[in-house]
């Protein structure tokens, strides 16, 4: 059984108890993904599996046979920051930084979900494509807690990237 992690095939661990999070951190040395609560309540462990964001702390590694997993290490590096990472720096989207890899992974998936037209709990017309508002972004990032309270700056960073990258458009009137 194998999984592809950041483009490289790795055999899955033998211990059935190994969570995806512990496998990434302890066995593969990919310590960018953080362990916060370890109970699916904080989002610090968020990674992408086949492009979808999940809590890696609540998933058994052996359940990922054949999956393509991406961690923060694949999204950008200190030498080549991804647009979201640059925007987090520019807007002070963090203080201690512990939740940041999870925030960035989550925000990366959020942009694909918006592009696919997924609704959220605050979408006015659930059958229609969502209009990007601040309330939408807040709701869609609610699975990532930040104990330093950088939320408003995180949303500002996201708004900047969405405005710059399109095709999504921020509805300024609805955000006001």
């Amino acid at each position: 059984m194998h999984a592809r992690v950041n483009g490289t095939e790795h055999p899955l661990p033998h211990d059935s108890r190994r969570t995806l999070l512990d496998w990434l951190r302890e066995d593969l040395g990919l310590t960018g993904t953080k362990k916060g609560c370890d109970h699916g309540q904080c989002g610090a462990c968020t990674v992408l599996v086949d492009g979808r964001r999940i809590n890696s702390c609540l998933s058994l590694a052996q359940l990922h046979d054949g999956d393509a997993i991406e961690t923060i290490e694949a999204i950008g590096s200190a030498d080549a920051l991804a647009p979201l990472q640059r925007a987090f720096v520019a807007h002070d989207g963090f203080q201690c930084g512990y939740c940041t890899p999870g925030q960035i992974c989550s925000a990366t998936a959020l942009m694909s979900e918006l592009a696919e037209g997924w609704a959220s709990a605050v979408t006015e017309d659930i059958a229609a494509a969502p209009v990007v508002t601040r309330a939408e972004l807040q709701e869609r990032m609610s699975g990532n807690l930040c104990r330093c309270g950088a939320y408003s700056n995180i949303i500002a960073a996201l708004e900047e990237v969405i405005a710059a990258e399109g095709p999504l458009r921020i509805d300024a009137e609805a955000s006001a």
């Binding site: 059935s16 699916g40 964001r53 998933s59 979900e113 997924w118 609610s142 990532n144």
Partner: protein, 328 residues
């Protein structure tokens, strides 16, 4: 976590064989893995049902059949669900977080266990986790607990949102077991605690949920209203699922289900009968609440839920019956 074996079922029959041999099914694992870490659940043998092909959403007559492994995210994103059963999409999106919804499944969500603090704390008395030890919540911290369908043995709520919508939509749970297939109305799936709170539902040993069937869409006004301690990513204190149709200024038809109010997703036909044929008014909504809460019993910290349920019902009915509903 205690050591366990993990097998991967290739199809539904393979999964049924493993379940028959005493294995516990795992799909998304968002609830089960958490419970295993805390040793509230300690199965010796797990069987993954992720590769059994039960991950499709398909038309079923005028209704829809949602496979047990369809993730909450995929179900809520489905165009048919969003258009014809918006109540279900709303309820799913009101629950958990995007990360959890990407992993949690339709079948697993139905089997989600309670969030009672005494169930989660293995040093405390809990008849659901450890039968016969008593119920710490009865005279303890019980703010999130049930006011309907309780017993002297347990007052824990079923915490989810999805099942509340399914109950109002008259959905059915489809299963396969050693004795063949069964179709269980959602209202008969969850079990009130009585004197055996350890069994949350009516699944039989060795039985597997294969999917959920939604009947033809009602075409009515569908609303899911969830009241909770914070704006997002929190379990309900009280939720109301409504599917209601008006005719000539009167309520022609209505289905109402309530979450986190009872020990199970709660539906009471007498409430609906009190509303059908009547002209909506605050007095009528109050009368319906009287019917809903006639047997409600608070345990101290959760007394507020009886008032909250009345207000949540009135707000939902007002929104559903006004000709030009204000979003609120």
């Amino acid at each position: 976590m205690k050591a366990f074996t993990l097998d991967h079922a290739a199809d539904a029959q393979d999964a049924l064989d493993a379940l028959g041999a005493g294995a516990t099914a795992i799909a998304g694992g968002t609830n089960l893995v958490d419970l295993m870490k805390l040793q509230i659940a300690a199965p010796d043998r797990l069987v993954s049902i992720r590769r059994t092909g039960l991950d499709q959403i398909a038309p079923d007559g005028e209704g829809l059949r949602i496979g047990a492994l369809v993730t909450n995210a995929d179900c809520a994103a489905d165009g048919r669900v969003r258009r014809d059963w918006p109540l279900l999409a709303q309820a799913i999106l009101a629950g958990a977080s995007p990360q959890l919804r990407n992993r949690a499944t339709t079948g697993g969500n139905l089997c989600q266990r309670t969030r009672c603090g005494y169930f989660y704390d293995t040093t405390q008395a809990c008849n659901k986790r450890a039968p016969g030890t008593g119920c710490g919540a009865l005279g303890g911290f019980n703010r999130i607990h049930a006011v309907l369908g309780t017993s002297d043995a347990c007052i824990a709520t079923y915490p989810g949102d999805m099942a509340v919508a399914l109950l109002a939509l008259d959905a059915e749970v489809l299963t396969q077991g050693p004795d063949g297939e069964r179709t269980i109305p959602v209202g008969q799936f969850h079990r009130q605690p009585g004197d055996d709170p350890s069994r949350d539902n009516t699944l039989l040993p060795g039985e597997l949920i294969t999917g959920v069937r939604l009947p033809a869409p009602s075409g009515g006004m569908q609303i899911y209203r969830k009241v909770r301690d914070r704006a997002s990513y929190a379990f309900a204190l009280v939720s109301v699922a409504a599917d209601l149709a008006m005719e000539d200024g009167r309520i022609a038809r209505c289905a109402l289900a309530f979450g986190s109010l009872g020990t199970v997703p709660w539906r009471d036909r007498a409430v609906e009968q009190a509303l059908v044929g009547e002209t909506p008014s605050p007095a009528l909504f109050d009368k319906a609440a009287d019917v809903l809460l006639r047997d409600a019993r608070g345990f101290g910290e959760n007394d507020f839920k009886i008032v909250l349920a009345r207000r949540a019902l009135a707000a939902t009915l007002a929104e559903a019956t006004l000709s030009n509903p204000a979003k609120g």
